[in-house]
């Protein structure tokens, strides 16, 4: 297993109280595999991603528990110095907005080179060649000429390719993409997704792809994790989740999917408001919006139900003692 996350917890101490942004997240990922992380905004997707790199904004935010194993190595035990070697080296992340995530004050060449210099120690000619190579690999035409350009001189699609080049420049084993195509228009988005797939084929990195767009999940991802209020309420293969969603929230999400012919964006919208992460209700966080809520749901937090094939769900409809309940439904 490339990545094993167990019971990861992140809290923010704010004036209004403690925000449990990530509250016991567990999942695993293989090399060459893509996990789609979906959920409403505010459900803790970005914080989870940053927490994998141990980049939670101090002093308000803290990783308060759990385990992150990358190739069997516990990342939460590493020193800050060792962790810097992991960041950009073994784990990379592409942020949502390619304009704001590139530094306006430095050339594209400089920004791509920085990661390579830090992690591979290249200098001079070799460094330059390496930068040009990765820029060409992410499909930037005339890469040589682009080195001296500034981010604002490029189109949004090109900028996001540069962000991709930075992320992949040191051949990471894990790539996290946090809604990388949200700000791109449809054609550019499609090209970008194709590029990511091709590069994944070539480099065999594991990928966590955060998105609002279930259409992308269906096309791109092997597995899906559905997040709600800081927890992964259901995870399984894309087929399992799309064909036999077990959690009422996942079902509601999929019900918003229009037919595949429709060109409209398939965005996640479920009626009702997500709970404030500050005072989560006892029991299941989805209970106030759940059409299938039962008495026990508001009293006790649901235990995890698992089937044999990595399909897990947090919901009282699926009793953990009854191993067959998932497949039975």
């Amino acid at each position: 297993m490339l990545l094993e996350v167990k019971d990861l917890r992140v809290q923010f101490h704010t004036r209004r109280g403690v925000v449990k942004a990530v509250d016991g997240v567990s999942f695993s990922l293989d090399r060459g595999e893509t996990l789609g992380l979906v959920g409403e905004s505010g459900s803790g997707k970005s914080v989870s991603c940053m927490a994998l790199m141990r980049l939670v904004e101090a002093p308000a935010g803290r990783i308060v528990g759990g385990s992150v194993l990358l190739d069997g190595q516990e990342l939460l035990d590493l020193s800050e110095r060792e962790m810097r070697q992991i960041r950009g080296g073994q784990i990379s992340l592409i942020l949502q907005d390619p304009l704001s995530s590139l530094n306006p004050g430095y050339t594209v060449g400089n920004q791509v080179a920085e990661a390579i210099r830090i992690h591979q120690g290249l200098r001079g000619r070799a460094l330059r060649d390496s930068v040009v190579e990765i820029l060409s690999q992410v499909g930037i035409p005339q890469a040589e000429r682009r080195l001296k350009q500034y981010p604002h001189q490029m189109s949004g699609g090109m900028r996001q390719r540069v962000a991709g080049a930075i992320a992949l420049s040191c051949r990471p084993s894990l790539l996290i993409a946090d809604e990388p195509t949200t700000s791109l228009d449809a054609t550019v988005q499609a090209q970008y997704l194709r590029l990511l797939s091709e590069l994944q084929q070539e480099f065999q990195f594991g990928m966590i792809f955060v998105t609002h767009d279930l259409g992308i999940v269906a096309r791109l991802c092997d597995r899906v994790a559905v997040m709600y209020a800081g927890r992964i309420v259901e995870t399984g293969s894309t087929r399992q989740i799309f064909n036999e969603p077990a959690h009422p929230y996942a079902k509601a999400l999929l019900a918003t999917l229009p037919s595949l012919e429709s060109r409209k964006k398939r965005l996640l919208t479920v009626s009702g408001q997500p709970p404030l992460a500050i005072d989560l209700p006892p029991g299941c966080s989805f209970a106030p919006r759940c059409p299938e809520v039962m008495d026990i749901c508001t009293e006790e937090f649901p235990a995890e139900a698992t089937t044999g094939d990595r399909h897990r769900v947090l919901c009282w409809l699926h009793s953990p003692s009854d191993e067959m309940s998932l497949s039975a439904r």
Binding site: L95, L102, N103, P104, G105, Y106, I118, H152
Partner: protein, 307 residues
């Protein structure tokens, strides 16, 4: 880039011309200089004589023409108060002390304010942030003359580490530098802090950390370069203001700069000296603005390429 520079240069020249013109007519609204030059018992005739001698009897527009003509040849006129001394001569004596004080103050304040602002932002809401903010509030709020007098009392009178005034040797510049520099650093520090706060939470800083960049490099290479833009503009403009605006500090420390010359000229309605001093200070101000624009364009590639 060249068009940008030329446009800014033209702007600077126009600003200076407008300044000169407005100034010329404004000082003449302050009253008649001859009243201050002669004892009250002198006859009307003698007063008129004086006016003629200094060309003050001619119509305003003619005076203005004469003044501009002089400017073109570099002649700023003769002082009405220090009889017989040209304005150029008076100014040239004061430029060096003024520059010295302002350069030292500026360096001192940048040296203090930049790191203080950066770390106050980095450790927002924690101890060092409060210390930095108190330092800046005090520097901005405490009147310079008060700070100056307290400094004098402690370090010159009681401890006798520094001279009590005047400009003799390197020691004499320490207290005025501190007084003026502290005042100036308040604004620079606050601006640095708020500007840094903005860029520290920006995505490109996040991305730098994601790349595995060391925190000190994240702060100074990635965050500070962008945060420095408004600070540079502000500091350059402030520098110009400091050259001419150190009046109180110069007064307290008997510093022979432009500020003390200007204040005396204003009191005496010494038009030519006022004009000369303000033109000099104003031109410095405009030039500094011009340089600030250049520096800004140089640091911020967006401006460089879109204009």
């Amino acid at each position: 880039m060249r068009r940008f520079i030329l446009a800014r240069l033209a702007q600077a020249v126009v600003s200076i011309f407008v300044l000169i013109t407005v100034l010329f007519f404004m000082v003449r609204l302050t009253g008649d200089p001859v009243e201050r030059m002669i004892p009250p018992q002198v006859t009307e005739e003698m007063a008129n004589e004086l006016k003629r001698a200094y060309g003050l009897d001619k119509p305003l527009l003619v005076q203005y023409g004469v003044f501009l003509g002089g400017l073109v040849t570099g002649d700023l006129g003769t002082s009405l108060y220090f009889r017989g001394r040209t304005v150029g001569e008076l100014l040239s004596l004061r430029i060096l002390p003024s520059l010295e004080l302002s350069v030292f103050s500026m360096l001192f304040s940048l040296l203090i304010a930049l790191p203080l602002g950066v770390y106050a932002a980095k450790y927002r809401g924690r101890g060092s942030d409060y210390v930095a903010r108190i330092f800046s509030i005090l520097g901005g709020a405490a009147p310079s003359f008060l700070v100056g007098l307290v400094m004098l009392r402690i370090f010159s009178v009681q401890l006798q580490w520094f001279p009590t005034g005047g400009r003799e040797g390197l020691w004499s510049v320490v207290l005025p530098t501190f007084t003026l520099g502290w005042f100036v650093s308040a604004g620079i520090m606050r601006l640095t802090r708020s500007s840094m706060l903005e860029s520290l939470y920006g995505d490109y800083v996040k991305l730098a950390r994601i790349k595995g960049v060391r925190e000190s490099v994240v702060i100074w290479k990635h965050a500070f370069k962008n945060a420095a833009l408004p600070v540079i503009t502000y500091a350059t403009v402030i520098f110009a203001a400091v050259i001419g605006g150190a009046i109180v500090t110069e007064y307290v420390f008997a510093w022979p700069g432009l500020g003390s010359l200007l204040i005396r000229a204003v009191i005496q309605r010494d038009f030519p000296v006022i004009q000369g001093a303000v033109i000099l200070i104003g031109s410095a101000f405009v030039m500094c603005n011009f340089l600030a624009d250049l520096a800004y364009a140089w640091i911020n590639p967006k401006i460089r390429y879109t204009r």
